[in-house]
Symmetry: C2
Subunit: 657 residues, 2 copies
Amino acid sequence: MKLKNYLLFGLAAATMTASFQACKPKGAGSAVSGDAAQRTYIPPGQHDEFYNFVSGGFSGQMSVYGLPSGRLFRVIPVFSVDPEKGWGFSEETKPMLQTSHGFVPWDDLHHIEASFTDGMPDGKWMFANSNNTPRLARINLQTFRTDEIIEIPNTGGNHCSPFTTENSEYVIAATRFSVPPDGEGDVPIDSYKENFKGHISFVSVDKQTGEFDISFQLKTPGLNFDLSSAGKGVSNGWLFMSCYNSEQAHTLLEVNSSKNDKDFILAINWKKAEEYIKAGKGKKQNNVRYAHNKWDEHTHTAKHEIKTEVTVLDVTEFEDLAYLIPCPKSPHGTDVSPTGEFIVGSGKLAALIPVFSFDKLQKAISAKDFESELYDGIPVVKYESALHGEVQKPGLGPLHTEFDDKGNAYTSFFVSSEVVKWNINTLEILDRQPTFYSVGHLMVAGGNAKKPFGKYLVAYNKITKDRFLPTGPELCHSAQLFDISGDKMELLLDFPTIGEPHYAQALPADLIKERSLQIYDINANKHPHKTNGESEARVERNGNIVRVYMTTIRSHLTPDVIEGIQLGDEVYFHVTNLEQDWDMPHGFAIKGANNSELLIMPGETTTLKWVPDRVGIFPFYCTDFCSALHQEMTGYARVSAQGSNVPVKYYTGEKTE
Amino acid sequence: MKLKNYLLFGLAAATMTASFQACKPKGAGSAVSGDAAQRTYIPPGQHDEFYNFVSGGFSGQMSVYGLPSGRLFRVIPVFSVDPEKGWGFSEETKPMLQTSHGFVPWDDLHHIEASFTDGMPDGKWMFANSNNTPRLARINLQTFRTDEIIEIPNTGGNHCSPFTTENSEYVIAATRFSVPPDGEGDVPIDSYKENFKGHISFVSVDKQTGEFDISFQLKTPGLNFDLSSAGKGVSNGWLFMSCYNSEQAHTLLEVNSSKNDKDFILAINWKKAEEYIKAGKGKKQNNVRYAHNKWDEHTHTAKHEIKTEVTVLDVTEFEDLAYLIPCPKSPHGTDVSPTGEFIVGSGKLAALIPVFSFDKLQKAISAKDFESELYDGIPVVKYESALHGEVQKPGLGPLHTEFDDKGNAYTSFFVSSEVVKWNINTLEILDRQPTFYSVGHLMVAGGNAKKPFGKYLVAYNKITKDRFLPTGPELCHSAQLFDISGDKMELLLDFPTIGEPHYAQALPADLIKERSLQIYDINANKHPHKTNGESEARVERNGNIVRVYMTTIRSHLTPDVIEGIQLGDEVYFHVTNLEQDWDMPHGFAIKGANNSELLIMPGETTTLKWVPDRVGIFPFYCTDFCSALHQEMTGYARVSAQGSNVPVKYYTGEKTE
């Protein structure tokens, strides 16, 4: 009967997107506030109220919008090369995308979460997870660049990530696909239950520098961790993670992992785990290999390092680390309320939303009010014992829940394509608004913090179809901005997004503006190939390595004429931008180079590698329009045959060397 | 004195950006229309009025915005890989970015221009130029994808491009940096005047298929071609190109190419050149090597080919092909009015704008009203003989001119940071509006066509600084939308842009909407590794080549469990998306792959190559949220040691092979 139920609902859920489209409302005029234009318009010269940091999903990037205007200010490369920023093409940035199995130019970024201090975003960093090649990243909100990436061992699909604890003591990275631990991999896939394990990584964040360290991993039986929230306030010290494949299926999950009426939320007492680690209970695992890449702000260069050890604690060896809370059905989002007291489980195939009480959970654990043990001895708390209550008939396909500053929760419904507002205490439904179409994640400004900012909610929709002018078979995804300051949600604006927006954060503009850097101090630039002013511009040959120490300032490149390069040479253009004025980048490109461009911010040194493949004259130029005489900011390099007697020679305007 | 003049003005021009900032107006409230919010707001469910196709500059991409909302609907990869589209990562798309010197993942796209029929955009294609690695591209407006890229031989910096003739008979590609012809390159750079040549390529466009062919090249003395406009209407058959380095300087152009009070516009009689080519006057040059890459719409795969011949006509060998028109001073834009009668030269260091008359030019040529011959015998028409008149005191640093539907011209001024409206006939200045900051290109909807659409003008500004919320040292560029339907220009909106917007086009929405494709017909898919439905999904080994014929449809990948892969294998996942519903793409990623993802549009087959580097279990999954059971759309691949006896085995839900 369970299977039959599933098939009926599952089939409906899986195909509902299509059938929903057929009967979609025409336009959306009725829900739109009459003065929405005024409320989303930012007059030229004025600034938006919030920064909206939005994950890019399969693009591997993170984008930055203004709210309420919905304007895109920046796409930040995180796990992918980016030709708009030159990220991953210069010699300095390439190491950032190295992994234990080489250079990965494109990956799948899922969620982002802000760094927190006392449960509130502190404006220092954004954290992001790479799903396919399991990694965590830290983005610096002074520079809007990725400062650090760490690979996560023993993990398959780092989806349940990068959710942080109340003071960002740890960023969590947990396996969506259980896999055999690293080094124990050549086993039959149908031995899943015996050989496949889950790992939950606690990656510490240095309070000052932000630097990552995999403090420890918790090893679990084979489970699929989907999403998580750390406790806060009363529940600080705990972590809650949705597990959607309680069946431990390993094939045709569409059917086989959707059989049970209830799956689980796994509650982890991470403070207790910390104690065990301090007491030396963890085991060193030395057969792992993972990349740890850091941006060096002094040399303006990324360093790539491989690490080979991690400390692992097996939760099944301890009685008081992990508890399973039954949760109907295939839970996706697991979201903790601002006070930390309530844990909302969104079972994507469930017809209700269970809300668990942290207080009741603790009492149930103390009283050992368990219904069973599963998966090598993890206690299963009785559903009713942990339950605060259920939101009845909320909609179809609940996915995620966010919170406002007035005691309300907002849940996204993929199948019935709507956002539903309900009261956290009374569980009463207060409002519902359709979304166009099939909302996935949603975000309230500060909606995962102790004191949400409220005011705006954004629905990030999975299906776009006719919402914007068509662009062929491949369409942007779509976001919808709602004003939630009144009793009813008011739709204000549709705006397109980059990649696939999974989770997002909105931070008040002032929190970031105050920290934002305008230039890099050229005196602090310690790049090993920096050129200290035009008088030091030069060309140096060492064997077949030719280094061009070049400067750029309005409106010339120095040197601008270079001879004496030969076939077989490796040429490095180390270009230093001498400008110390905000928004005065220069670019550099030379014909014949494969990674053919650079972008250099004021005060930075950046390097282009060129291995000429033919004899000739190769023009180079500034690629970023900088001044009235930008078009004149050019030069030529001459490449001669190997063994040619053309000497190294360069012109710097006044002098020829 | 000339030099002194230059130094005064040039220094002012070069540094004015900085000083201008110091005295910039606070905000821009006064110029903004009171109901700008209403006039730029597109209510949810409704569509924008125009598509705005905008070049991405150094990003190598082209972006598509809606007007008047300024919303970004799509970034189209053209000369760069793009992690949002998977462009340049799949086996099918990689060949599109091959050049004669290998794979170029990032390049510098400068201008775009629409395909024209009888002087009006026909909605079929956009053309784009790559500046650094000289190339032309054709973007298909049914699919919003790049369908073709051709490399341009004998060329250095393909900046003066891709401007097309009245019926897009030809797209022009001309050298910004003269260089020695291919194969004659190892010469001293200071032999510029003798050895460096300009080449202007006439690339024909097949009226039906759009296919490119380098019909012929015109070889000229060493000149810098900056921008061009083809004649239209009365001047159809001619081409006008700005030349900013009449001094033929090769070093410190900031000073040395800015000495002359007048440089030139080169007028080319291309119909005459066509006749000479037909008469066999061109010379075959066989020492060139250039890539010609085409997307095959049947196999969904790019083909890369190298060509080795081009036909060249030396303009100095003919009396009636090319004429120089003196133009003050360092001309940048050269723009032809809607009737074709007027040619506007924007000398970026000039204090006036000369407007030339095509009729007077023809009369001067007939009368041989020349002031001299230059550069091996090219006649120089007398300035006054070709001049319609001068716009006096227009502003500082004129760059580009566009036209409206009422006989007006609009010129951008970089240094004085404004757009100036003037009457084409009377040359009277009618209005001026400040831009924030330092406008480069500008665009009127249809402003380069025979019958401009008018209504909107967009200024694409080079400096952003404080216009939007700050994002560290690296900022987006900025556009400003003006309503030009009244007597005075009205500023409506600031919106951020992707990369560096050089030229742009705006086309009425209906022209594109009608042609837009929603899905790829799966029955027409002739990919050699297509899978015709789930029953054909399979794994095949041939030596160390393993091919996975995979299908994807809501909500499963078939096969979803694969064993028998060994170290040393090359694994190809050929993934066919069986969906035939608009906006139902699927993604694919597998842990351990370097090009780790695919995006597959409905009806397409796309290939990911994977060379495993270690033994283990590697999860794979759909990367583009597609359905309520998307999270269940996963599988596992097992990699064993080389020589292992684990047989090739795969599961397709019901059956195991």
